[in-house]
Symmetry: C2
């Protein structure tokens, strides 16, 4: 039975991508060698890297002056690369504290200098996105997290920002239109809408780099990777290849316009049911609700076991909420079909009617 | 036609490993989900991580008191994590300069403190391993590279070391018996004898950590990863899984004892031909010759084109030498069958006889 995969990440990928990825492990490029046993300097893999970079540029409509990198270490390594590359000696940075990942980013930046937290929703268990703060130009940069997987919130409108704007888009990149020119640095672990775990996408405006006066270790310097086209050392070949396939799938289906529309349909369907069905309750502030991760509780605890059981019987995977919110979390990344959400909504209705 | 894959890395992996890896992308663990679309916190993947760590311990016979980690960033990130975790403020470290990678490791360490190079073979294009140096205990650690892929040299006997001994074993780990208790920290990019690119094996003696007085960023602190069992953040799931499969293959075939014997046979066969055949000449000092990467030149340049042609016709892949040595490099990692070396030697004989 095919599963309905609501996993929060690593998460569902398109079936045709999985098929091609699987084939490439046996015979890549009709060359009788596996993708994972050829040199990353060989033409077939250099072509993959080029194509992956081009697809990022195309899908996100990236203006000139930005570099596109595929690195390693996940968003967690970016948490320290950002201040190391952008925070001046004795400079200060501004952060928005919207959840677990934002908090970790703040903690790392504090190793390098003064951090001011301009907005913080921790007192309400991060169930909303802080607004009404002002960013001033005496900060070296402002950092925010576009989507908070654990708490099910998402920034709908990015603030106007008189200094550099840095955004961790790990969990919603490629899910909706963004105006890249608003940002100076975007990073995202691959393992949501882009591909398998193991690579990190970085989109950085070239002119902002090299201005801090810091001595940056080679591997942590964005300029190292820009100058070598993400091939300073052996890249995570498989993760980049499957990311390339996933982006190609997105492009072939109609790109960001298409997927944003589908993602909105999925979100509308599930949030509508949560709001309509007296058995369920959403945890996030309505105006900040994430289209990627829908967090909700069952009001009648006595029905929890039954709901878990019928979900399991229907092949639903990964619906358990994060321990810090409890309840349920339906992660509805790009590759999750509308049909899977329909199945879930059907079960919610069934539970209420029994 | 099946290729004879002499690629220097990423390199050949066992056929049965590739088959299982390919299957896991479609349906992992008979669970109707792909390996790369499940949570790294799910039991099936936690089991993979546990098994991978156990196999490293078993194959290398690791004593108590060491941790086994699967990180990201390759050896290049280790070049800076090593001094960051082991070099005291105002301390000094000792390095052996045996080639390109050693030189890069030295350059990174110099960002953090004083480095003394105890031996250096650069004046002879790194064609030998320096010997006769003395390591004193006023160094915080001594660092060496066990095998030099580009120059075809390998340390056969590790020095006695009165301080911590750190070794980059990226290109020969799991290829021969080592006494782990001689070392305090071993690291290795996966993409030679362990698995696909994308993860880095670290074996570290727990008691050496946390003694420098430095403030270490979370992701660069070995203790972070030890305390979270390599799951501080999303690990490179696929690379770790395929590494686990490769180690299981090695164990099933007889472990390090078995592979060391085969690797010695392969090396004897090829070096014997290089020494016997007047058309060819080895580039590395005989006593330091690597069993992993055999570097050699054609004496009669007019025969080069023909040799390249017959190699290509025979399905030989990845034989071109690195530009800094020229000629040829036959990388004979664990998964390369003896038969592939026989094919190569046959062609060398054919070239001489025509």
């Amino acid at each position: 039975m095919k599963k309905h995969n609501f996993s929060a990440g690593p998460c569902i990928l398109p079936e045709e991508v999985l098929k091609k990825a699987s084939d490439s492990i046996i015979n890549f490029n009709q060359d009788n060698l596996s993708l994972i046993e050829i040199s990353h300097r060989s033409k077939p893999f250099v072509d993959v890297m080029d194509k992956a970079q081009k697809l990022v540029r195309e899908l996100l409509n990236i203006p000139n002056g930005y570099s596109v990198l595929f690195l390693q270490g996940g968003a967690s390594l970016e948490f320290l690369m950002v201040p190391l590359n952008l925070l001046k000696e004795k400079g200060k940075s501004a952060y928005l504290n919207t959840g677990t990942w934002a908090k970790k980013a703040i903690a790392e930046a504090e190793n390098f200098g003064h951090v001011e937290v301009l907005g913080d929703s921790s007192e309400k268990n991060y169930n909303y996105i802080p607004k009404g703060y002002t960013i001033t130009n005496d900060f070296d940069y402002f950092h925010c997290t576009s989507n908070n997987t654990i708490y099910g919130t998402q920034i709908k409108d990015f603030p106007s920002c008189p200094t550099l704007m840095v955004c961790d888009m790990s969990s919603d990149i490629f899910s909706r239109k963004i105006d890249v020119s608003q940002f100076d640095l975007i990073y995202a672990g691959a393992q949501k809408n882009m591909g398998p775990a193991g690579t990190t996408l970085v989109i950085v405006k070239d002119e902002i780099l090299g201005k801090t006066g810091r001595n940056i270790p080679t591997m942590l310097d964005y300029n190292t990777h820009i100058s070598k086209g993400s091939m300073f050392n052996t890249p995570p070949v498989f993760s980049i290849y499957v990311s390339m396939l996933t982006m190609q799938w997105l492009k072939d289906n109609g790109g960001i316009d298409w997927v944003e529309r589908i993602n909105q349909q999925k979100a509308n369907l599930l949030y509508h049911e949560i709001d309509r069905n007296p058995l369920f309750e959403g945890t996030a502030n309505k105006e900040d609700r994430s289209n990627m991760n829908v967090t909700f509780l069952i009001n009648d605890k006595s029905k929890e076991d039954k709901f878990n059981k019928i979900c399991e019987e229907a092949g639903i995977n990964g619906l358990k909420g994060h321990r810090s919110v409890g309840g349920y979390r339906a992660s509805m990344y790009n590759a999750l079909p509308l049909e899977s959400v329909q199945v879930l909504v059907g079960l919610m209705q069934k539970l209420a009617n029994n």
